[in-house]
């Protein structure tokens, strides 16, 4: 067992020894506290899906612990050398880990009313997937999803993404998964429905003709698995069986190809599902084109 003893500095008066000893004890307690915090981050929070929003905090705390460790005084000159060498090793390895693992791109997006927030956390140099975090307190975030393909392609680093809010309570993240590949979209909903209890199929609930509120020439029809999308004077046809992908219980993504646009249909907060699994009259939807270009999401109402 290594015994750490604290002694007064050579240039200090012995009257200060007690005070210095007290300060060192406080530092030791602080170091132990920080170690406990690091342990909590690694062994309790992380397995439960929580992580530090800013990874830099973890490495800065490590530096503080290392500095305290180096400043602890030991009697034996051999132990002093070991202490210094270990301090150096910790310092270098912490710096390397900070450089590689702690280097992140962070995007914090808030809804217009600033009631909701999503955080995108991308590791610049690691293959870890870009995570969508939901803030838990000042330091932590709960990982709710990861971006598809983000292990190999760093979309935030390349600025090939955007975050939009639909109806103030659904965040839509559109992003690339490669330089030339198709765009992806992912949703994070903060909506709380109080009149439904389970899963329903979004596609079927859209049955009917939906007309763009600002431009009636644009419309969307869903009828028995077949879809027609009229946009800017052109018509596109889709099949529910082949071209759709449900996202949660509020949205369905319609996948196009090189000749047909991809878009996502999001149920707005005024859309409530009736006992027939269809959206009740008066509900609206938002059609979100899958594009990185600045385009307004359009609200459609049932015709």
């Amino acid at each position: 067992m290594i015994l750490y003893t604290i002694k007064c500095w050579p240039d200090l008066d012995c009257r200060d020894v007690a005070m210095k000893r007290k300060a060192n004890v406080v530092l030791c307690i602080a170091a132990i506290g920080l170690l406990v915090f690091q342990g909590f981050v690694l062994f309790i929070a992380k397995p439960k899906g929580y992580e530090l929003i800013h990874d830099g905090v973890f490495y800065v705390i490590n530096y503080v612990i290392i500095v305290i460790f180096i400043f602890l005084r030991v009697k034996s000159p051999y132990l002093k050398w070991i202490q210094r060498m270990m301090g150096l090793i910790f310092f270098v390895s912490n710096t390397v880990f900070f450089y590689y693992i702690g280097d992140i791109n962070l995007v914090v997006s808030k809804s217009k009313d600033r009631q909701h927030e999503i955080i995108l956390k991308e590791y610049k140099k690691m293959k870890y997937e870009t995570a969508i975090l939901q803030r838990r307190g000042l330091l932590f975030g709960k990982k709710t999803a990861t971006l598809k393909g983000s292990s190999a392609y760093k979309t935030i680093e390349k600025n090939t993404y955007n975050v939009n809010w639909v109806g103030g309570d659904i965040a839509v993240v559109t992003y690339k998964t490669s330089d030339h590949g198709p765009l992806q979209q992912i949703f994070k909903s903060f909506r709380v429905y109080d009149d439904h209890t389970g899963f329903f199929y979004v596609g079927v609930s859209l049955t009917g003709k939906w007309v763009e509120q600002d431009n009636p020439q644009n419309y969307f029809i869903y009828d028995r698995g077949e879809m027609v999308y009229a946009k800017d004077g052109r018509l596109y046809y889709y099949s529910d069986r082949e071209d759709t992908e449900q996202l949660g219980i509020y949205a369905v993504k319609i996948n196009g190809d090189d000749k047909r646009p991809s878009f996502t249909v999001v149920l707005n907060s005024d859309s409530h599902i009736g006992s027939d699994d269809l959206i009740k009259d008066g509900g609206t939807i938002t059609i979100c084109p899958v594009t990185l270009e600045k385009s307004d999401y359009k609200v459609y109402s049932k015709n």
Partner: protein
Amino acid sequence: MNVLKIISTCLMTVVIILVTFKVSQNIVEDRNAHYVQKNPVVKAKKEKRVKQQEPTNNDNMISHGITGAGKTALPVKYRQNFTVYENKLYVTNDQGKTWLQVPDDDALGGARISDYLDAISESNLYLSVNKISVVYGGRGSENISVISTENQGKLWSVGSIPKSATRDLQNGYDQLFIDFLDNGKTGYVVAVRNKGTSREILAYRSVDSGVTWDEVDMDDSLYHKMLARFGL
């Protein structure tokens, strides 16, 4: 002695830094190398489509009924057999004494007459004492519809002609013609669409009083007979 100590200390420090750096870097690289993607992009195994999928939603061949308002009088002067009053289409078969409001077809995917008020002309109407029919539609994803009544507008029957949608949201058919022969049993519908300098003419025939319609091929002698009937 001191110089040797300083040099050896420096050397040892450099060695420690280098070794620690290399080991730490290896740990990071090892993590990266062995990282298994949890959410990779999976390419869908989908056959490449040659053309857009044909619409099927609007190809409902079965006619369905719509309740109408029956005969009514309108405060309009008779000029032709149809008039647009308060954004609704009215037709007459007694020279304006009474009028019948043509109802909208609210069936999903069906053409609504109120969307085609600007495209209605006399050629779109078939008027007899017992039967009134209006042909309209064809714009965008909507097929041509034929709406008919045989009881003075109390009940209308509407059916659509399969695969007759132009899929052009701006320009549908330029002219539509309708006529019935054999006491209303055989029906003719001809749709004309200008395409620059040329024009496309499609002909449809019904042998069941307009319940179902079949396209008549251009090579069929009936095709030319039908066109001639409408002066085309």
